[in-house]
């Protein structure tokens, strides 16, 4: 589903963010990218969603070499990806329903699809009763659920999560992780960058550890060390 082959990313002239990284992620996998700040976790995610282009090497996502993707095709790559972030990136002037609907609306889905799909995913993330609230009226965990609903509503093949529990307390994080696991069980590949020990250790899934841009460990059923 995802394949990195000798990927190097240099920002500017000499800031080495990712150094000759290669790994495969199979369909339906759940992978943690771990490591300290600045180790290149976020850069790897941004390379996969083509927010950045690799300086060297190839990045294959859902059968496409994203490095060679013409800019006009990038939106269609993004439609097969769901992105979630530490800061949720919700639109504060839209309700929960509208935030999720927005993701379908801007890729031109007809209204009947929106009316059908949005309540369904809101039910899935446990926010069916809060669909008319605004993000500011929700807790951090609830906001992250909205963002997951928005990422999932288009049934992506892959979920890319950048520190999704970074702003949340342990109990809330557990709920978010249970949700991501449920999504993973539907067959969606999940790649999650984190430096949250607890969630990695609780899940016991594949762990790829990075340090200063290099892969220093790639382990099935790993823990955070």
């Amino acid at each position: 589903m995802i394949k990195l082959d000798g990927v190097t990313k240099i920002y500017g002239h000499d800031t080495l963010a990712v150094d000759d990284v290669s790994f495969d992620v199979a369909k339906g996998d759940f992978v943690f990218l771990v490591g300290p700040s600045g180790s290149g976790k976020s850069t790897l995610l941004r390379l996969m969603s083509r927010e950045e282009v690799a300086t060297e090497g190839d990045v294959w996502v859902a059968g496409r070499n994203v490095c060679e993707l013409p800019p006009s095709r990038v939106p269609f790559l993004r439609r097969s990806l769901g992105n979630i972030f530490q800061d949720y990136k919700l639109l504060l002037n839209k309700t929960v329903f509208e935030n999720v609907a927005f993701a379908l609306e801007v890729i031109g889905k007809p209204r009947h699809v929106i009316r059908e799909q949005v309540p369904f995913v809101l039910e899935l993330v446990g926010l069916a009763d809060k669909s008319e609230r605004f993000p500011n009226q929700l807790s951090g965990g609830e906001q992250q659920r909205v963002s997951i609903a928005r990422a999932f509503v288009n049934r992506p093949l892959i979920m890319l999560a950048d520190e999704p529990t970074g702003n949340l307390d342990p109990a809330t994080s557990e709920g978010i992780m249970a949700l991501l696991q449920a999504i993973n069980e539907t067959g969606t590949t999940v790649v999650m960058a984190t430096h949250d020990h607890r969630v990695v250790n609780a899940m016991r899934r594949r762990v790829i550890q990075l340090d200063r841009g290099l892969v220093v460990r790639d382990q099935e059923r790993g823990v955070y060390e």
Binding site: R79, G108, A151
Partner: protein, 301 residues
């Protein structure tokens, strides 16, 4: 498809209202610029009424009395053709009563009193003379000679009537043209800035849209429509302005003494509507240009 169109229109309208102050500035500037463009067209056209009889390097007009006999006309024609070294005989043109009357209708378009005195029967016919020489003294001496011919009512020289107006018209055209070009550029700049501001205000939304896979065109189109709408509204305002200006001017001109020439400086209604259509198209064009530049350059917010 319908959902997309509906989305684009809704977003255009929302953004239009949200940014009212800047939008007003952009609309007003384009309106003023377009008004000036429209005024340039009208002034040029009005001057042309005066200049129409001198079109094509005509430097001398020999007016023939309306009661002149065919023999007298032939004599004048022969005399004019007798000076092939000074007069371009090939370009010598005789306007009969019907043609002279048609021309008079343009010259006296704003002067119905004079026009009503002229009929195809009473109007003087005319010879249009294109000289070969640049020597105005020579042309003038010829004119004095022709005035004495039987049947000649008058001889008019371009030097006396045409050149002042021509210079004035050229000057007015240049000034208004430069001013309208500058103002058009300012209008494009203001629309560009308004759209840029609108995009900056919605950068979070644009970020999310790109994230979930909206195409660049989908993101751009509402902004481009917004610019188009601003230019178009500017065009509508300028049309109203041009119409009001023209009505006031035509009304004022009608009060002038007939035969002063000022009364020629009006335009027919058909021409005015043509100018209005041009202004609307031009307004839409500057809106589209300004917003297209902004929307293509500032998508990476």
């Amino acid at each position: 498809m319908l959902a997309r169109i509906e989305y684009a229109l809704r977003e255009t309208w929302a953004s239009f209202r949200r940014n009212l102050t800047l939008t007003m500035a952009a609309v007003l500037t384009s309106a003023i610029a377009l008004l000036l463009v429209g005024a340039t067209f009208l002034i040029q056209r009005a001057f042309e009424n005066l200049l129409v009889q001198w079109r094509g390097d005509v430097a001398m007009i020999v007016f023939v009395r309306s009661d002149a006999s065919p023999e007298q006309v032939a004599l004048i024609d022969g005399t004019l053709r007798a000076a092939p070294s000074v007069i371009d005989v090939d370009k010598l043109r005789y306007l009969d009563k019907a043609e002279s009357y048609a021309e008079a209708q343009r010259i006296f378009v704003g002067d119905p009193v004079t026009l009503s005195l002229l009929t195809p029967e009473t109007i003087p016919t005319q010879f249009k003379v294109v000289p070969l020489t640049e020597d105005t003294d020579l042309v003038r001496s010829l004119a004095d000679q022709y005035r004495t011919l039987p049947g000649v009512e008058a001889v008019a020289l371009a030097e006396d009537e045409f050149e002042v107006i021509s210079t004035l018209s050229g000057f007015v055209r240049n000034v208004t043209l430069i001013m309208s070009l500058v103002l058009l550029a300012v209008a494009i700049g203001l629309i560009w800035n308004t759209i840029r501001t609108a995009m900056f205000a919605r950068r979070r939304e644009i970020e999310v849209m790109k994230l979930v896979g909206a195409t660049n065109w989908f993101i751009r189109i509402p902004f481009m429509l917004e610019g188009l709408l601003q230019g178009l509204i500017g065009g509508v305002v300028s049309c109203a302005g041009v119409w009001a200006l023209n009505s006031a001017w035509s009304g004022g001109v009608a009060a002038f003494k007939p035969g002063t020439g000022i009364s020629s400086l009006v335009v027919p209604a058909g021409y005015l509507s043509g100018v209005m259509v041009v202004l609307l198209l031009l307004g839409a064009a500057i809106g589209a240009i300004g917003s297209a530049i902004a929307a293509s350059r500032f998508l990476d917010v």
